[in-house]
Every structure is written in C-alpha cells, then in structure tokens.
Amino acid sequence: MSAVRLVPARFLALELACDLAAVRDACRQARQFLADQGVGAADLDGWELALAEAANNAVKYVTEAGRALPVRVELDVRTHQAEVRVTDHTAGFDMPARAELAELTDESGRGIFLIQQLTDEAVYLRGAGENCMVLRRGRDPAAAALPIAGDAAGAARELAEASATLDLMTEELSSAYESLSAIFRFSTELQTGAGSDDFIRRWLNHLLTITEADWFVLRLVEQGGQSLRVEAASAATWAGAPLRVPAPGAGGPAETRAALDRADLWFDAKSPLGADDPLSVFGAGSGGFSHPLVVSEQLVGVFTIGRQDGGRPFRAGQVSVIHTIADFLALQIRSRQIHAEQVRAKLDLRDLEIAAGIQQGLLPVRMPVVPCAGLAGFYRSAREIGGDYYDALGAEGESVLLVIADVMGKGISAALFALMFRSLVHARPDLASRPGEFLEWLNRNLYEDLDRAGMFITAQLACLNSRTGQFQVASAGHPPMLFANLRGEVAEIGASGPPIGIVADASFPEDRRPWRGGQALMFTDGLMDARNPAGSLLGLDPLKAAVAASALRGDSPTDARERMVRLLHDFEAGTQPADDTAFIVISSRKP
C-alpha cells in the first residue's frame, strides 16, 4: 500500500474587507459552501456562528496598520472533518485553553467560549504580521441538534458539559438556598423586635458574605431631609461626610444620583465611580450599585454595595437578596423613626402632666395653728417645672416645724426629689424639734441618690417652740432666714452646713433665736433672684426692708404675704420668672 494517499477535499478561500458587514456576508457564503458539501443543518448553524465570532474579532481588534488588509477566511472540507481558518491582522491574544463562561450579566466576552463550544478544536496561531484562528470539527452526517454526540469526542464533550452544567446549577441552587435561608433568619429577627444599630450592622456584614461583596455603605436621610449621613459602613473607621441632596451638577456621586432618580445606580469597570465620589475610597474600579431606600414614597436613605473587582458584577439572584434585605432594613429604620417621634411627643406631654401632679402633692393643704405665731405660705411655679417645696408640720408641745427646700435642677427629676424629700420629712415627727439632727438624717438618707443623679437640695428647717418661745434653725446651704423684731430691726440666720447631697456625713449645727414678736421669712432663691425687665436681681435688701415694714405695721400673716407678693410683682414688672418661688411668712400677729 502506498504511503501517500490522495484525500478528497474541497476548498473555499474568501478575502473580506475589514468590516462587520463583510463578515456577515462571508459567513453566509461559507455556510452555503458547507451545505453544498453535505454538512448537516445543525452543524451549519454551529459553523456559521463560530466563524462569525472569529471573524468579528478579527474586525473588532484590528490594528491601525491591519485595517487596510483583508481578513482571510479559508474552508477546508474533508470527508470526516471540516476546518475553517480565519486570518486576522490584530495584535493577537492569548487564547485560553478552556474559556470560562462569562457572568450571566456580562454584556460581552462570550465569543471565545462559543467558539470552543461549537468546535472540536480551536487553535490560535500567532505570527509576526498576522494571526490565524484554526477551527476544526468532525463531520457527522446524521446531525440532529447542537452539540452533537455522534462520536467519542462528542460524547466526552457532552459529559463534560453536563457536569459543568450540573456544577453551575448546584452552585446557583445552593446560593439561592443560602439567600432564602438568610432572608428567613432576617425576617424572624425583625419580628422579635430587633431593630438596633447592632442588628443593622450585623446583617449588612452578613450580606457581604452571602453575596460575595467586599464593601457597603448605608446612608440615612437627616431629619431636615437635606443631606445623607453615613449610618453604617463595612469599614468601621470610615467617616464619610454627609452628602448634600440634591447634589450640585448633573453628575455627582453615585449615592446622590440614586437618591435623586429613585433608581439603582450601577457602577463597574466600564462606568466607574467618579474620581471625587466618596465611594471611590473603597476601590476606584469597584463594581456594584447604589440602591435608594424608599418607604411610602419617602426617601429614607441609600444603600450601596460593591466588589473591588469591577469586572465581576452581581448575579441576578444576589441582586434580589440585596434588594430584599436593604428594603426590609429601610422599613425597620423608618418605623423606628416614626415610633421614636411618637414616643417623644407623648413623653413631652406626659412630662408636664406628671410634674403638675407632683406639684399638687407637695404643698400643705393648710398651715397648722400654733399659739405664738400665724403662718402663711406662698408658691409659684415657673415656666419649667422646678423642685421648690415648703411645709409646716405640727410637732409635740404645740411646736411647729417649718420647712423650706429647693431641689437644684428642673423637670421631672427635681420634682421627684422634692417629693422624696417631703416623704422623708413626714416620716420622722420625732425629729421635728431637733432640726439640726433632722437635716443630718435627711442628708444621710438622700446623699446616695442625689450624688448619683448629680443633684443637691438646699433646705432650711426652723422649729418654733411655743413653750420656750424660741426658734431653732438649721440650714443646709439655703438662703438666710430673715427676722424683724417689733422695732423693725432685721437679723438673718444663714446656712450652717452644706446643701444636702454634697457631703455624705455633713452636720448642721442649730442656731437659736428667741421669738418675741415681729415677722420672720423663709424663702427660696427664686424670690431673691427674681429679675426685672432690665435684668437686675431683686436681692436680699428689699426683702429685709419688707420684713421690717411688716413687723412695724404688725401685719397679719396674710398681709405680710400680700406685701411680699406685691413687692415681687412690682419688681418683675411682667418679666417671665425663670425659677420657682416659695416663701413662708411667720407673724406674731395671729391670722
């Protein structure tokens, strides 16, 4: 037998101008030629497409110099095989041994994959001035559909393909399962009321893992609605400045564009983040999208997620999970905001109600009656609820304990401490005649709570003993008690110890003063610090003068009170008081 045989072969050689339309024509002609040689219908489709991909590449990537040169297509059809050669004038490329299927959302990059799928063999030969793509495929006259399985090579290819498909399906299924289970866990946690910042950060970091992403940024709309501040980011130390909405100019950062357009804004290697986009700190070539968070048509914020590799966009399934979780979080955030607003409004109202209630409970219903003096009290609350308190308790031996106190501070806590103080005062009738000891006891019992709250109480206790005709006075940092005798001479008894709540084991020595007629006044600093329209304080002197006047005039308790009230009103002349005011007048004239 001869070592050399003649083999039947058919050739077609085409030269095409370097443009896509010419490629199309050439592919039709090549298909016709193959059909004429008896190549089966299904194979014809495959050849036409494989040739189109190779020849399109020859046109798309041609060099400047090569543009003038024709693309050459040669067909070489034998009995059991067809070979197609495409000669190009590009710079050439590295042909991968096995091209991977592009990401489903890639708009390009399937050419080589298709060529390899549609042929048995694809070889790219690179030369000096030109390159040649050589495609070979066995001929199968009984072709039914692509890819054909008529021979061992075909069967092996089909098996490999089926395995690859199975792998891909498994991967997609498991990714879908992971996403679904993540969504279930997430919504369960939502229902158990977790809406804290920690919850949000945890789930967003979770999202990175589930979707194979590298970074995220969550921005929320500021209360004014004019800017987006960073609420959470994958890099805990990234402190992005708030973004103004609307951003100046048509372009602007990805996040504000998404917010303005109320639509996802995608970025990737082909449409990258702007150089001055704050997100570019995570990687200028990142790929991902900014998703506006809208609840009931109101913009709540913007969530952006990205991968540093901009050439690998998120799969549709991953986009779904991201949307789901981000939108759920937006719902949670918005409902938290609404709830907080409602609670705040309710609390404000409640505050005032409670304080008013407490105030009612602080004042004595009526002043006790004692043989040697008449008593009258006055209380006026300021705009903000304070902690003034006065009281008069009958004590043994027809004595009376007069109490005046001022809790430093405002609002509910001051009122509550005043209430506490009052309760303690009423708890020890046995100490009523020993005001110094009483203050020590009060201080010991209130010190810890006051210290913890960072507050203190000034107080003055004066026991008028009818039998001895004497005042015993002890004072904890309180303004002085004023006395005026029947000759109008004024004296004062000042503080003998620190305010209550300052020193844990303070002592309060008593002052004694005989009571032989006249007037006395105990007051809180709201009286002394009353302001007039010019901003001056009333001070102590006018009070002394008023007490002296009352003593000289022999005012009854109510008259003395009236005198003091008139003094206060005339001085204030309409100025809004800043602090509560309370005082007790003691008159030797009976009511």
């Binding site: 490629v23 399109n56 592009a102 390009s108 559909a145 549709a316």
Partner: protein, 99 residues
C-alpha cells in the same frame, strides 16, 4: 426592527438578525423607546435566524436596563438554533423565554 408600545409592554419585532454589526443599534433603539410606563420588554425572535455573542450582549444590556427599572425582558419564540445558543451560554437562566 419594529417597535410597538402596548400598554406597559414594549414589543420589539421584525428582527432578522442580532449580530455584531447591528447589536448596538438594536440595543440603543430599544432603550430609547422605553418610556416610564414600560414594565415589560418583549423581544420577538420568531423571525430571527442568526444571533451571535454581540446580539446576546445586547439582550443582556436590555435585561439590565429593565431590571433597574423594576421591569423584565422576555424573549419570544426563539428559533431552535437561537434557543440552543441561549442555553449553551446559560442565558436562559436570567432571560425569560416564552416559546
């Protein structure tokens, strides 16, 4: 190519081929015809005899555009050979195909 607006659906039909030469035009024309109300883009491939990787790319691009608008793309009645390419490249996973 024919573009027809029917309610919230844009129908693109009369496409002989989706190839490297016309894929970009096809994509741009279809995109330009997407008014706000369009939620479904139907691409009728019943008359389409040839689709190459550029054509696939244009379909993907339109799919992405529709997703961003909260809508969807449907491929209507692709020929067997075109369907095979869609399956070969796994695009039947993300493009809804109506046979």
């Amino acid at each position: 190519m024919r573009l027809q607006l029917q309610g919230n659906t844009l129908l693109a039909g009369g496409i002989a081929e989706l190839n490297a030469a016309n894929a970009t035009n096809f994509r741009d024309e279809a995109r330009a015809a997407l008014v706000d109300s369009v939620k479904v883009l139907d691409v009728d491939l019943s008359a389409t005899t040839f689709v190459d990787s550029s054509g696939l790319g244009a379909l993907i691009a339109l799919h992405k555009t529709m997703i961003q608008r909260g809508g969807t793309v449907r491929i209507l009645k692709p020929a067997a050979s075109v369907l095979q390419i869609l399956e070969l490249t796994r695009l039947h996973r993300i493009l809804e195909i109506v046979k």
